[in-house]
Structure formats: structure tokens, C-alpha cells
């Protein structure tokens, strides 16, 4: 505990030398439908991303702040959401005898996590905790472009670089040594909508879905924002005209 405090103070007082020695490569950039003030989620892409999450990511990563009902935002129908939720079994509380019960998931349940807790996840993953994915895009510099790049960043290490056991070399990961095995390859999934599953396509789709899970309100935020800005521009003009009129007898 004292060490922690000292570490913080050491940072505060001492110049840091070469803390970023292992610079990550500049990120790849994709075109995102949700960029710009009129941007909205590409629902087809987000749904493909959800398919990748369900079939691949969710084996290790939790998604604790997403409820199944939130899938409505990427265009799933109530019936589809019910079906997705019902496919998992969740704790159902205590029965009359005080015994733990189980029940099928409901739309109001949050995504079922692959591990009961962080310790169990770490133990299963060789000590590295797969981060929760609900805020992954929000929590990484570069946001969706970071995810997009990371998925395509697994390359052979440069000559002379030793990759520790249980790690992989990724040119976009800070420090390069990532514990996550390459999750996506060409044709890692067979898309339900028939889209060709190239690595770049998969990376784009999963980054779109993860942006949605970080910012599920984004579509509403943009459309409300445009209306608010238009209103305020109108109010600015009206108020300025009023000001000119009021001040006309002074100038």
C-alpha cells in the first residue's frame, strides 16, 4: 500500500525516461458509419459483429453492462432477442426451500459471462484477465480503429525479439506482447447474411459492434444533437436581431 503511494509520488516528482520505449505502430483506419454528426450505426455490420462476439469473443470476454434487450439498438427484433436470451441459463434466485435455482435468460438479463469471476477467468487464461468488452472501445485510445487494427496486427516478431510463452506479437498492442491468441482469421465465421468473411471485414464488424456496446446511445445522441444545434443557431440569430434592435437607439 505504501509502495503504491510512493510509486505515484515517484511519478509525480521524477522525470520519466523512455516510458514509451515500445511504441505501437500507427493504427489502421476504417470508414465508420457512425462518424460525423449525422453518423448512425451500420446495423448489418453491428449484427455481424455480434455474431463474431457470440461465436468467438464471448468464449473468454465478458460483456457485463450489456443486456440482451440492448440488442434492439442494432436491429434485432423482440422475438430474436428473446431467442438469444433464452439460449443461456442464468441463476434464478432461491426457491421456497432456499436452494439455488436456474432459469433460461430473459431480455432484461445482462450478457452471460464466460467465467464466474475475474479470478476464475485469470486461472483459465494463464494469468491474463480478458478485459470486459462493454467499454473496450471507450477505454482504448483510437477507439474502433484500435480494435480494427489489433484484430489485424498479429505478425511475426521482428528478428531478435523473443516472445514469451503464452504471448503473441501484435504490432498495434502497446508493448507488442499480447496474451490473446489471434482471434480472427479469414472465414473465422460464416456470416448469416452471406457477407464474405475476410479478416478486414470481420475486424470492421466486430469493432462496429464493440463501439455500439460502448456507446449504445450514439444514434439518438446524434439525431437529438442535430436538432439541438439547429435550435440554438436559430435562437442565436433571433437573439442577435433583438440585441441590434434594443441597442439601435444607443449607437
Amino acid at each position: 500500500m505504501r509502495l503504491r503511494v510512493l510509486a505515484a509520488l515517484a511519478f509525480l516528482m521524477a522525470p520519466l525516461g523512455g516510458a514509451n520505449a515500445q511504441e505501437a505502430a500507427p493504427l489502421l483506419h476504417s470508414h465508420w458509419s457512425f462518424d460525423g454528426i449525422f453518423g448512425t450505426y451500420d446495423k448489418a455490420s453491428a449484427q455481424r459483429g455480434f455474431q463474431i462476439y457470440s461465436q468467438i469473443c464471448s468464449a473468454c470476454h465478458s460483456m457485463n453492462y450489456m443486456a440482451y434487450r440492448n440488442l434492439a439498438g442494432i436491429g434485432l427484433s423482440p422475438a430474436q432477442i428473446k431467442a438469444v436470451a433464452a439460449a443461456v441459463t442464468v441463476p434464478g434466485g432461491l426457491d421456497d426451500q432456499g436452494k439455488e435455482t436456474e432459469r433460461p435468460g430473459r431480455p432484461s438479463d445482462t450478457f452471460k459471462a464466460p467465467f464466474p469471476n475475474d479470478k476464475a477467468a485469470e486461472a483459465a487464461m494463464g494469468g491474463a484477465l480478458p478485459p470486459d468488452q462493454s467499454l473496450l472501445v471507450a477505454a482504448r485510445d483510437g477507439g474502433p480503429n484500435y480494435i480494427y487494427s489489433l484484430m489485424q496486427g498479429y505478425v511475426d516478431p521482428p528478428a531478435g525479439v523473443q516472445v514469451p510463452v503464452g504471448h503473441y506479437y501484435n504490432k498495434y498492442f502497446p508493448g507488442h506482447m499480447i496474451a490473446m491468441p489471434p482471434p480472427l482469421t479469414d472465414n473465422a465465421v460464416t456470416y448469416a447474411d452471406g457477407t464474405k468473411a475476410t479478416l478486414a471485414q470481420e475486424a470492421h464488424d466486430v469493432a462496429t459492434f464493440l463501439t455500439y456496446t460502448s456507446y449504445p446511445q450514439l444514434d439518438e445522441q446524434h439525431s437529438l444533437g442535430v436538432r439541438v444545434l439547429l435550435f440554438l443557431i436559430f435562437m442565436t440569430i433571433v437573439t442577435y436581431i433583438a440585441k441590434r434592435r434594443v441597442w439601435a437607439d444607443v449607437h
Binding site: 509520488l9 511519478f11 471507450a138 437573439t239
Partner: protein, 427 residues
């Protein structure tokens, strides 16, 4: 009129009944209606009103956030996500509040710059100015504690680093820090008290703002010429002239605020605050919010911890004594050929300090930080008194209504002498 009643001039009998017993209507009419205000304000004089409106919006959004927030170390982070995802328009309320802190500092920093440039801190407005510095300090404390509440990584480590500053106090430092924390590290007790204080301090700010306004209404406002009001020809009633002018500024301000809220709500934040607080993992960079960066830079520019902390507090403290450091009798920089260069240079200096605060202190950054820190204190402690003594001010105008009468080379241009205010009868 019965004895003991106020002589109200309100016409409406019901309002009049109230006003004779509690003359709020008369007071508002006097202080915000007919209040004589210098006629020559520029748009820099909007920022006091903008700050007031921002404070109100912050309190209102804050109250609604507090209804849905849980100040517990295990639940704070997820309760913020609950606000963002489940509460109706919770994301909007939070984004307004979150970006509102930055907007508040932008507005207040410009407001302070206005005071510096036009000499609003000088006689007779010294106490008014000092109350403003108290507001700034309260705002800083409030903003710092507010940033801790989401309990992300930067919340936690920012709180750890900043509270540790107090350990620089000789002998009792460590005890004070533990007393602040309510434990042996930042933890649940710290979060609880910060939440309580974050809710309390804004109302103290409202109180000091009230005093700030009362003091303002005794001395009257300064103005871009920095000369005293000589008579009614120099003033306009506050309403409608300045209510409407403030409204224009307010609309533009809200436009900018809304642009942040809807289209770049996280631009001024830090990505790693989207990771829940983890006491076992120190982030690579612990960086305060942008509005603290210049002060953080001053702190880090001094190789001695105690001295660094002392200088950081002194950088605000020096503002308290500014009215007595400035030896020039002239208020407005318009008539101060040297000081009018020094004040913008101070702004450049603060931007340099901001840059330093945001970057690793190595090489050039360290040097820049030390030079900029030295300049900051030289500006207030050396340049300000000296320039006041040696500078020859330009000739001052006779009055606000005849601003260019005594300018030496005003040529044969028409003198706007006829610009005499018509007193508003029924403002």
C-alpha cells in the same frame, strides 16, 4: 402606509402586499432592471453571466445524477454505466455535467483574463476580486472531487496523486493525508466523503457568488476604458440592454457546449477512466483534467516536493494580493502600452504550462516548464509592480460617453458626443 412596511411602487395589489413586507421585487428591479451599467461593455463582460448560468446548470444536472449514482467503491463505476444506459436521458444529463465542468473553467478563465486585462481587481474592487479567487478555489476542489466519483482508473489515481500532495507538509503531512483518505489509501471512505463534499461545495460557491454580486453592485462594474462612471450619460439600465447582450453570448456559449455534449463528449476526458479503478495497477500516465494542467506543470517543474506544492498553491495565492502588487493607477490595459503586452504574454505562458503539464517531463519539456513557471511568478511579483512604476500611461478619456475626446491624434473625425443615453423610463 403603515409603519414598518417598505414603500413599494409595485402596482399589482397582491405583489405589492408581498413587496411591502419582503421587497424582493423592488430589489430585483433595482439590481437587475434599472441597475446603472456602463454603456461601453464589450462581449468580455458576458462571462460573469455565463458562469452564473453554468453554475445553475451544473447544480441541476448534478442533482439528477445524484439520484441515480451510488457512492460506493464497489458500485460507483457500474452506477455510472446504469446512468449512461438505463436512466432515461441519463447519458445526456451526464454528458452535460461532465463537459459542463470544462465549460465552467473556460468561462471562468476568460472572466479572470477580462479582470486582469481591464484592471477590474483595482480599487475599489479588491474584495470583489478576492471573492472571485475564493470561487475559483472552491471550483477547483469541487471539480477534482467530482472527477473522482465515476471511480475509473484516472479517478482513483488522480485522487491518490493529488491527496498525496498534502504529505509534503512537514511533520504532520502523512497524518493529514490519512485523515483525508479516511484510511491508509484512497478507498471507499474517500469516495463517500468526496461525494458528500462534491454535493456541498457548489452551494458554498452559490453563497460566495452571491457575495461577489453584492460587492459588484456596491462598486458598480468596471468597463473596457477602466475609468469611473461620471454620471447617467455614461450608463444604461441593465435591462434590456445587458440582459439581451448577455443572451446573445449565452446562445453562442450553449451552442459550443451542445456541440461538445452531442458530438465530442469524451474529447476532453481520458480514455482510461472507462476502466474501473484498480488499486493494484498504476496507469502509465496520471494526468489531471486540462483545466489543472498549468498548475500541475508548476508543481512538477520544481525538483523539490515541498517547494513544488508550495509554489502550486502560491500560483493561486498570488492572485489574492494582485490588487496590491499592481502599482499603476490606470485600470484598463488600453491605456497601458507595456502591461497590455504582458497580460497576453501571461496567457501564452499559461498555455505553455498547460502543454508542459500534459507531457512527460523530460528534456525540452522540463526546461520549458521551469522557464514558464519562473515567468508566471515574475509576471506578478516583479513585472507588475515595476511596470506600474515606470510605464507612462496614455491619456485617459474624460468620460465613458466621450471616449476619444482627449486622444492626441484623433484627427478631425466626428466625436460621438451626442451618444447620450436616454434613460429608460420603464425598464
Amino acid at each position: 402606509m403603515a409603519a414598518g412596511l417598505f414603500k413599494s411602487e409595485v402596482k399589482n395589489p397582491v405583489l405589492r402586499w408581498v413587496d411591502t413586507r419582503l421587497p424582493l421585487i423592488t430589489m430585483m428591479q433595482k439590481e437587475y432592471g434599472s441597475f446603472p451599467t456602463p454603456r461601453n461593455f464589450n462581449y468580455f463582460w458576458n462571462f460573469g453571466a455565463l458562469a452564473t448560468v453554468t453554475l445553475m446548470i451544473m447544480i441541476m444536472t448534478g442533482v439528477f445524477l445524484a439520484m441515480n449514482y451510488t457512492p460506493n467503491a464497489n458500485m460507483a463505476f457500474s452506477s455510472v454505466q446504469h446512468i449512461m444506459r438505463d436512466v432515461n436521458y441519463g447519458w445526456l444529463i451526464r454528458y452535460v455535467h461532465m463537459n459542463g465542468a470544462s465549460m465552467f473553467f473556460i468561462v471562468v478563465y476568460i472572466h479572470i483574463f477580462r479582470g486582469l486585462y481591464y484592471g477590474s481587481y483595482k480599487f475599489p474592487r479588491e474584495l470583489l476580486w478576492m471573492l472571485g479567487v475564493v470561487i475559483l478555489l472552491l471550483m477547483m476542489a469541487t471539480a477534482f472531487m467530482g472527477y473522482v466519483l465515476p471511480w475509473g482508473q484516472m479517478s482513483f489515481w488522480g485522487a491518490t496523486v493529488i491527496t498525496n500532495l498534502f504529505s509534503a507538509i512537514p511533520v504532520v503531512g502523512q497524518s493529514i493525508v490519512q485523515w483525508l483518505w479516511g484510511g491508509f489509501s484512497v478507498g471507499n471512505p474517500t469516495l463517500n466523503r468526496f461525494f458528500s463534499l462534491h454535493y456541498l461545495l457548489p452551494f458554498l460557491i452559490v453563497g460566495v457568488v452571491f457575495l461577489h454580486v453584492v460587492a459588484l453592485h456596491i462598486t458598480g462594474s468596471n468597463n473596457p476604458l477602466g475609468i469611473d462612471v461620471k454620471g447617467p450619460q455614461d450608463t444604461l439600465p441593465f435591462h434590456p440592454y445587458y440582459t439581451v447582450k448577455d443572451s446573445v453570448g449565452l446562445c453562442v456559449f450553449l451552442l459550443i457546449w451542445a456541440a461538445f455534449v452531442f458530438f465530442m463528449p469524451n474529447l476532453l476526458g481520458d480514455t482510461i477512466n472507462s476502466i474501473p479503478a484498480n488499486p493494484l495497477q498504476t496507469p502509465a500516465d496520471v494526468v489531471p483534467e486540462w483545466y489543472f494542467l498549468p498548475f500541475y506543470a508548476i508543481l512538477r517543474s520544481v525538483p523539490n516536493k515541498v517547494l513544488g506544492v508550495a509554489l502550486m498553491f502560491a500560483s493561486i495565492g498570488v492572485l489574492f494580493v494582485l490588487p496590491w502588487l499592481d502599482t499603476s493607477p490606470v485600470r484598463s490595459c488600453r491605456f497601458r502600452p507595456i502591461y497590455r503586452i504582458l497580460v497576453p504574454l501571461l496567457v501564452v505562458d499559461l498555455f505553455a504550462l498547460g502543454y508542459v503539464g500534459a507531457h512527460h517531463p523530460q528534456g525540452f519539456v522540463v526546461l520549458l516548464g521551469r522557464v514558464a513557471t519562473a515567468w508566471y511568478f515574475l509576471h506578478f511579483l516583479v513585472f507588475t509592480p515595476l511596470v506600474g512604476w515606470f510605464e507612462t500611461p496614455l491619456p485617459l478619456p474624460e468620460s465613458i460617453a466621450k471616449p476619444i475626446v482627449r486622444k492626441p491624434h484623433s484627427g478631425g473625425g466626428p466625436i460621438p458626443g451626442g451618444a447620450v443615453a436616454k434613460p429608460m423610463e420603464n425598464a
